[in-house]
């Protein structure tokens, strides 16, 4: 037996047609004989009408003239992902088209190796000299004399080579007194 409190809880669902058949029949039967629930159901219908009317009015008042321009602008902003997608698709196509051409890759690798060997004379990593080699005095004594191609100074400048070590010294006097050590 449907009571008013239970019916009131179900009226909103009944109004929206969301009750299953037995329950719907039970609520309908109760509403038919209950003035309070009939009024509540009528009020629900009225509320829905008002909501629909309000929304319709607002939609009519809305200006959709720039709507598609806005959509287009948002689509433009998403161009990078579009480019990424294009790049991925391009990569996929390239992979399928190029993978079978092993001789091309092999030839390219060989050509690159030859060009690199020709251009740079870098030895293999095992033979490579350390990044910085501490010059020893013995080595310096043999060949460390610098070759000066040009030299200018706003002060007094002296240039000499140490006869024993062959080290080249450029001595600049910034106070113009010409003093040497």
């Amino acid at each position: 037996m449907m009571t008013c409190p239970r019916s009131e809880r179900l009226l909103a669902l009944f109004h929206d047609g969301e009750l299953d058949s037995p329950l719907r029949r039970e609520v309908a039967s109760h509403v038919a004989g209950c003035l309070t629930c009939t009024r509540t159901l009528a009020a629900l219908g009225r509320v829905q009408e008002l909501v629909v009317q309000t929304i319709s009015e607002q939609v009519e008042e809305s200006d959709f003239a720039n709507f598609w321009e806005g959509v287009a602008s948002r689509l433009d902003q998403q161009t990078p992902s579009s480019w990424r997608l294009r790049l991925r698709l391009w990569g996929e196509r390239l992979r399928w088209n190029w993978f079978p051409t092993a001789p091309v890759w092999a030839a390219a690798a060989a050509a690159l190796l030859l060009v690199t060997l020709f251009v740079s004379h870098t030895p293999s990593s095992n033979d490579k000299a350390p990044v910085f080699h501490e010059p020893s005095p013995t080595v310096l004594a043999a060949n460390d004399q610098a070759q000066i191609e040009s030299l200018s100074s706003t002060g007094t400048v002296f240039l000499w080579n140490e006869p024993e070590s062959n080290a080249t010294v450029i001595w600049v006097s910034d106070d113009n007194d010409g003093e040497m050590p």
Binding site: A108, S120, T122, Q147, I148, L151, V172
Partner: protein, 150 residues
């Protein structure tokens, strides 16, 4: 692994190797600044390898006040700031007959004209001394060294 993938792997390896070879074409510049004075008998042990050369200057004390190493590409300028508001501009110009061509400019403060400007060639792993600028109670002696990947 298919033949295609193997070939692609070889190509990628060759490319990496080539890039490494290109990246290796750098010059290491080393600038050491020594303060030479007559105020004491101190000799900085970090300068032991160039003691014979430094002793020729006939100061009684030698102290390493600054040391800087930098790897630069050919033709690129490297600025080394020295004590007393001076700085050294070094440009490795090229490498020929196991010699490294260096453009060296010693600049003092904001003076537009360099105190010294020279184009010289030193042997690979070699060095040249630039001395003379006064600092505090002594004189600065700058060792400029360069090492190129052969």
């Amino acid at each position: 692994m298919t033949v295609s993938r193997l070939a692609l792997f070889c190509f990628a390896s060759a490319l990496l190797w080539a890039l490494q070879a290109i990246a290796g074409e750098m010059v290491e510049l080393r600038v050491e600044t020594v303060l030479a004075t007559d105020s004491s008998k101190e000799f900085d042990s970090r300068l032991n390898d160039i003691q014979p050369q430094l002793r020729k200057f006939r100061y009684s004390s030698y102290r390493l006040v600054q040391e800087e190493r930098r790897r630069v590409a050919w033709g690129k300028q490297a600025d080394f700031f020295l004590p007393g508001g001076r700085f050294l501009q070094v440009v490795p110009k090229g490498y020929l007959n196991e010699r490294i061509a260096l453009q060296v400019m010693l600049i003092e403060g904001t003076t537009p004209t360099p105190l010294m400007n020279t184009l010289l060639r030193i042997r690979n792993h070699g060095m040249v001394f630039v001395g003379g600028p006064t600092h505090q109670e002594g004189t600065l002696i700058i060792r400029i060294g360069a090492t190129a990947d052969e």
